[in-house]
């Protein structure tokens, strides 16, 4: 790219020049920021090949840059991006905690470079780690068996539902057609159930923000295949009636599914299996701190009770006299990913668990819960319900999306907004255990500074960020999805 265009923007200010310790770079080049690769260089090459012409393309048009320009391009892009190493990301239900650096080195170890189609004897290291991790997760979840195949939490949900369906069919109960989901549940629960062919029955919350047990009793019946629940729920509230809930579902012949998105508040304190859950998924990339990579890869293993173990995906790993081997469970549902999902996430999660040990894991959930309650006590917005576990949902007086944009000007990432819908203008906040008291105080200050802003000033935020507010509705009305569309 030409050299003339790179000037750090002089930030316009709307009065939010309070401490913004995590401010990002902006790169102006004429009327845009860092140009697209295609705007720096576009090269059309004529394709010559030993293949016949009718099988090959005539030409390929793509950017053609030397490594220094590639390096600068992506370095600039990274500087225009906010990660947990830049500052806090208190997104409720997303569990964005600091990720230890050493797990990247473990993931870079040459022993990870193994092809999945090797014979079992030739990949004992891989199978050994898979075995150790599946046993460890079973212990943490209070489950009897674990599959490590699903490549994300939502994929874990789908896998768990398919396992439940296969189980019901084998029991001669294949006519069960409904999955019950509380209204506060993650959107993935609804989508995964629908994807598996089930009708979704939505369960209202009671005045406490928890499952309405009477409504559940009315909804559960011979059509019920599954109740999907996260505990604590997305309001950060523990479902104290969990035993009654489990009894209702089991008496109706259904199974109880645990959405593991909030498991980080239970480590060392409670196990889904002990609460009566039959199936659960783990979000390894949340609970066990794998960097989220801007949206993945994740990993969503599921754990099940003994009755459901024969239905898990193939292959599973077991210990033999001399090592480890793969096998297919008797009534396996098959596969949900071609291989074992995202291997590197498994390695990082295992390293994270070993590093902490029992005591460290319990300290994780204790500190996550302490941090959430401390932050909740410091902010001036109304925080309904309680007591909280690792997250809470505040209610903004203004448009929660505006509040989020204004918080960006304070150099912090805002919470999840407008969800769950049970709370008006929801600000769903999960600071996690890795934020210091000073950072929590910064976050509270950002909340409170925004709480005092007048609506007009609010609507003009953010001004201190890489881009000003983006018109998402306009972007959706006339979609431009590649540089070919510009």
């Amino acid at each position: 790219m030409s050299q003339e265009g790179h000037e750090r923007a002089a930030a316009e200010s709307t009065g939010a020049e309070t401490d913004a310790p995590h401010q990002q770079a902006r790169w102006y080049a004429g009327d845009r920021y860092e140009p697209l690769l295609s705007e720096k260089s576009s090269e059309t090459v004529t394709v010559e090949s030993s293949l016949p012409d009718d099988l090959t393309r005539e030409e390929l048009e793509l950017p053609d840059l030397a490594e220094p320009e590639v390096a600068r391009h992506y370095t600039r892009l990274s500087q225009m991006n906010y990660g947990i190493d830049s500052g806090p990301i208190p997104l409720g239900s997303c569990t964005m905690k600091y990720n230890p650096s050493f797990t990247e080195d473990v993931a870079a170890h040459p022993g990870n470079r193994v092809h999945p189609l090797r014979a079992d004897d030739d990949k004992q290291g891989i199978l050994h780690l898979l075995y150790e991790l599946q046993e460890t997760l079973a212990s943490i979840g209070g489950m009897d068996a674990v599959t490590l195949q699903p490549p994300a939490g939502a994929a874990g949900e789908f896998t768990g539902i398919q396992v439940a369906k296969a189980y019901h069919e084998r029991q001669g109960e294949g006519s069960r057609s409904e999955v019950i989901v509380p209204e506060s549940a993650h959107g993935t629960n609804f989508a995964s159930a629908a994807m598996a062919g089930y009708d979704v029955v939505e369960l209202p919350s009671n005045e406490d923000g928890r499952v309405e047990v009477d409504a559940l009793a009315a909804a559960a019946g011979e059509d019920t295949a599954l109740l999907m629940l996260t505990n604590p729920n997305t309001l950060g509230l523990f479902e104290r009636d969990i035993e009654a809930i489990a009894e209702i579902v089991h008496d109706a012949g259904g199974l109880l599914y645990y959405d593991g998105a909030n498991l980080n508040s239970l480590l060392g304190k409670a196990r889904p299996g002990d609460m009566g859950f039959d199936i659960m998924h783990f979000n390894l990339h949340k609970t066990f701190a794998t960097p989220h990579g801007g949206g993945g890869p994740g990993q969503g293993p599921i754990g099940v009770g003994a009755d459901l173990a024969p239905f898990l995906p193939t292959p599973q790993v077991r210990e033999t006299e001399g090592g480890y081997e793969t096998y297919e469970p008797d009534h396996s549902i098959g596969r949900v990913h071609e291989f074992v999902g995202n291997w590197l996430v498994l390695v990082k999660a295992y390293a994270y668990i070993l590093r902490h040990g029992d005591e460290g894991l319990e300290r994780v959930s204790e500190t996550a819960v302490l941090n959430a309650n401390y932050l909740a006590s410091r902010i001036e917005y109304e925080v309904p319900y309680g007591p909280f576990h690792h997250e809470f949902v505040a209610s903004a007086d203004e448009d929660a999306a505006d509040v989020a944009k204004a918080m960006l000007d304070h150099g912090v990432h805002p919470p999840t907004t407008k969800w769950p819908e049970i709370v008006d203008e929801a600000l769903m906040t999960e600071p996690t255990e890795t934020e210091s008291k000073a950072t929590l105080d910064d976050l509270a200050a950002a909340f409170n500074a925004v709480a005092g802003m007048d609506p007009e000033a609010l609507s003009e935020t953010p001004s201190e960020t890489t881009a000003r507010r983006i018109d998402q509705a306009a972007a959706a009305r006339s979609p431009r999805l590649s540089w070919h569309d510009l």
Binding site: D85, P100, L117, A270, G295, L361, S436
Partner: protein, 442 residues
């Protein structure tokens, strides 16, 4: 305690602020479901943890792999690690606040642009889990856009069992029938396919290169057949092959799925980066995340996740898929790798996939007791080999020479499969030596 930053005094102050003396008091869990045991996991220092995990990983054999079968190893330039591991990328979240995530959004927009160029189709999303789940999503898309009739999809009989097993789970909910159509001489049997087609078919799938490593010679005819019956035509391929092969849109593909992890992703036990592209008219039925270009309040170009009303967090049970976390960081890596190669580098890498396996087959074919490739036609990266001796015995023999190969069931017998890319091409001599030295070879 690792990664927990409070001092004792800070912790006390925070406990005071929330009105408890012990963090345990904050846990609103009935005693009856409290966990009072332990997991039995000992804490390790960072050094001990690394030593333990790396020691386990070292238990795998040190082998040169000629395995392929849907998971391919290409050299990944160092700059891919160094840039993608920049923590602002690695430790960032899904771009729900685009004003502070312009960098990642732009990189994903550039990834989508790459896939659009490679496929010739109008729309690409910014990743799927892997090629098998991308195919599953393509079938669900076909079912939605042709919801009034079709409830069968046709796949080639050589579709790997692993991929078929994933597809069976994806098609179970909507009760779509997956049926195989025949192949002949290692490629699509076009007449056989025609016999399978009727108006109930919502999608026809074909891969190029196919599961036998052959570049399909007549996908025009397959596309025409699908079109004549009102079925979508879905093509499976990968980002390196598409750099050389005719863009699928040119022969009528409506959807392209496959693997983009051939760029930027080394062999890491089957991690994937699924690619997904389709014609523009299916835009609002696309699964997964899309990045769009728009403007910010200052009138500058800016990027954002777009058309989110298709997605689970808004549409819930009516979403086009349940995807939330996808493979964004791997898409970033693929985009960096492609940028580093440039168009000539991509074409050269792909051409090496043609010449590498051709050369290996020629040399294997010269050996007594070996016939390579089994099928005439142009191969890409891999080929099947017939052996006079049982193929499994040949695999065992090569294993002792430090080489990993595999067998496949094909046309009722067991055959050897060989995959050659830039990362093992300099070991083909060893492969030839091992095969030549196979005692019972002839």
């Amino acid at each position: 305690m690792p990664y927990v930053t409070h001092s004792g005094a800070e912790r006390s102050a925070m406990l005071d602020a929330v009105g408890v003396s012990d963090p345990d008091d904050l846990f609103d869990i009935p005693d009856s479901v409290r966990f009072d045991g332990d997991y039995g996991i000992a804490a390790h220092s960072e050094r001990e943890t690394r030593a333990t995990v790396e020691g386990i990983l070292d238990e795998s054999a040190d082998l040169t792999e000629f395995l392929g079968g849907g998971h391919y190893d290409h050299y990944v330039p160092s700059v891919v690690d160094h840039l993608s591991l920049r923590s602002e990328f690695l430790t960032s979240y899904t771009q729900y606040q685009p004003e502070v995530t312009q960098g990642f959004l732009q990189a994903l927009f550039e990834f989508q642009s790459l896939v659009v160029e490679l496929t010739g189709l109008g729309v690409a999303n910014c990743s799927m889990y892997d090629r098998a789940t991308a195919l599953g999503e393509a079938v669900l898309l076909a079912d939605r856009v042709r919801a009034t009739d079709g409830d069968r999809v046709l796949v080639p009989e050589d579709l790997p069992d692993r991929v078929r097993a994933v597809l069976d789970n994806y098609t179970d909910g909507p009760d779509i029938g997956v049926e195989s159509y025949p192949t002949s001489e290692g490629t699509v049997d076009v007449e056989g396919l025609a016999d399978c087609l009727d108006e109930d078919v919502s999608m026809v799938y074909a891969a190029t290169p196919n599961a036998r490593g052959v570049v399909e010679p007549d996908l025009d005819a397959v596309g025409d057949l699908a079109d004549d019956h009102g079925a979508l035509f879905c093509v499976g391929s990968d980002a390196v092959a598409l750099s050389l092969l005719e863009p699928p849109a040119a022969y009528g593909a409506d959807v392209v799925v496959g693997d983009a992890g051939v760029l930027g992703l080394p062999t890491t036990y089957g991690m994937g980066l699924g690619l997904f592209a389709c014609r523009e008219e299916f835009l609002r039925q696309v699964p997964g995340r899309l990045v769009g270009a728009g403007e910010d309040d200052a009138g500058n170009r800016a990027y954002t996740l777009t058309l989110q009303t298709r997605e689970q967090h808004i549409r819930r049970e009516r979403a086009t898929s349940n995807i939330c976390t996808n493979q964004a960081w791997l898409a970033l890596r693929a985009a960096i790798h492609a940028a580093w190669l440039g168009p000539s580098g991509l074409v050269d890498l792909a051409e090496d996939c043609v010449t590498g396996i051709a050369e290996a087959c020629e040399r294997i074919d010269d050996l007594d007791g070996f016939d390579a490739p089994v099928y005439d036609g142009h191969h890409f990266r891999e080929a099947l080999v017939d052996t006079a001796a049982p193929a499994a015995d040949v695999v065992d023999h090569c294993r002792h020479a430090g080489l990993a190969l595999r067998t496949v069931e094909d046309a009722g017998r067991e055959r050897l499969a060989v995959c050659v890319t830039d990362t093992n091409r300099d070991r083909v001599n060893d492969l030839i030596d091992a095969l030549a030295g196979y005692g019972g070879g002839a």
